[in-house]
Symmetry: C2
Subunit: 322 residues, 2 copies
């Protein structure tokens, strides 16, 4: 390991994953914690403790700490403004952590740090313009524009799941007041909903039998049954992939990106999701845009947040920020 | 006038407007030409001639020429790739003009140059993140991101009229293969279409009587009748403004801009368009985003393209590009 390193922390709604990361973005000394059910104070205490444990595990000097959080961030003050799955609201996260850890701290949205990971060391290396979508319970996003992360005026941007694709569509979730968002029609939650509907319509399919047996119809189960060849499960994934392609087409026309990276849990479906997404994106986007862009799966899986948070910390060490 | 100036050229589908512009973006010595019906060679000859006329009208040294064109641009080679309303297809516009004029030439999409004008000297001065929508026959767009113009990987981006807002909506026009684009539901063309529908439904309204009298129901006529207080004309503008607000909400969530600037011919309707657009944007966008952003009319009217093209030329003089 190089003499100087950083600590990256993926603080998710279910668990925390921290790691000591060198300047080549290799991860050493991982630390795990469970998060669910904690209050705000306990959550912050636990994050400090996890970073201290990671720091104690290395002989290298830790130069900075980066956090990726599924939360709206106000970068002007490093505030964690509003989160759906974490007890964080209007917390001055960056300064609070910097004071408790005695180290420079950076914080960003989980989608933004995942985009940073893919751009620096993953599926979008060498690109100047990148759109990243993470398809999980919801849809998160991250943007690289003109060769730099794009976070908007106060750092709250790139909420790429929250564009309307169906003006009369179903209501969105959490703190989003919209209806017909991409998230409502192409997330893991949408996949499970469509899977249940198709299971009811096709009781003899594998999905239908699982439903009749009382199994919970999740995105993960549908993906598993689709990989096993169940036509009904494939139909559900094709529908979600097609909806995803509608959103991708809009982003191709807006950003003219080199690459669209699809990550998150639902990308476990691989080409069963991506092939219909690509077909729909090409059908809808301006030909100049779709001819230029690649639509590819994320390279980092469960460590995208950790690596991206470390990349964030490394960038700001390099820039001499704070 | 300062000793050094540039020439800005707005090369539209109907007419060309050129002007000598100083470093404070004041316009001197305007030149007009009609464009409609010209072939590609005649169009290029006429553009050269108009620039030469403007150049001859000033004693200042002309440092560069900027063009704004309603066309997909490939900035890697300064190519005019594809236009709906002009006979330009795969023309190496920048280099061809530079050679014929003997001056440095820059070229960009008309939406991008309008955004540059509003950002440098209009409604978006001082902002770092700007979304501009021009509502005319179609919907054009321009973006300032992180304090710089955002054109995408090959310079063809910011096609902000071409995001899907209604996945089953009407087919789009020109070279766009999509259906349910923002452009199909919130442009001047959409306003005229909805005006005709409402005229048929409400024959006693002013719009209905104009329709019965055989007048052509255009966006301009509807705007005029709405300003006179006709409820049916106001209804048509409210519908188009509401649809516009759906698109604005998506752009608030994606870009977290300081300001959304609405220009183009349809903005003659003023608050009759903007008030319903703002209301719908606030109803749909994440509250953090709508709380930060202003939604305002463009400051430049018919000279946005000319001034923006000049700003483009001035930027590249300042940067020492080409």
């Amino acid at each position: 390991m190089s003499p100087e390193c950083v600590i990256g922390v993926d603080l998710g709604g279910t668990k925390l994953l921290a790691g000591v990361v060198d300047s080549d973005l290799n991860v050493h000394h991982r630390v795990h914690r469970m998060v669910r059910g904690l209050g705000q104070r306990e959550l912050l205490d636990m994050a400090v403790e996890a970073v201290e444990e990671a720091r104690a595990s290395t002989t290298s000097e830790v130069a900075a700490v980066g956090f990726g959080i599924p939360c709206l961030i106000d970068q002007r003050r490093g505030m964690a403004t509003m989160a759906v799955n974490l007890p964080l609201r209007d917390v001055p996260f960056r300064d609070l952590m910097a004071e408790r850890l005695g180290l420079p701290v950076e914080v960003d949205n989980d989608g933004n740090v995942a985009a940073l990971a893919e751009w620096r060391a993953g599926a979008a290396q060498g690109a100047t313009d990148v759109v990243l979508l993470t398809i999980g319970t919801g849809i998160g996003g991250g943007l690289i524009v003109n060769g730099a992360p794009c976070r908007g005026a106060i750092g709250a941007g790139a909420e790429l799941g929250h564009i309307t694709i169906d003006l009369d569509g179903p209501p969105c979730q959490g703190h989003c007041p919209n209806n017909g968002c991409l998230e409502t029609l192409a997330s893991g939650t949408a996949l499970a909903r469509e899977g249940r509907r198709i299971a009811g319509e096709q009781p003899d399919s594998a999905v239908g039998r699982a439903f009749a047996d009382g199994r919970e119809i999740t995105g993960a189960l549908i993906t598993e049954l689709a990989h096993d060849g169940d036509a009904a499960a494939i139909e559900a994934l094709t529908l979600i992939g097609t909806n995803l392609g509608i959103g991708i087409a809009s982003y191709l026309n807006v950003f003219n990106p080199d690459v669209v990276v699809i990550g998150g849990g639902v990308i476990a479906a691989g080409e069963l999701l991506l092939a219909p997404a690509r077909a729909e994106a090409v059908r809808r986007a301006l030909p100049t845009m779709s001819a230029h862009a690649q639509i590819v799966p994320a390279q980092f899986g469960t460590e995208a947040g950790l690596v991206g948070a470390a990349a964030l910390a490394l960038e700001n060490v390099a820039n001499g920020v704070r």
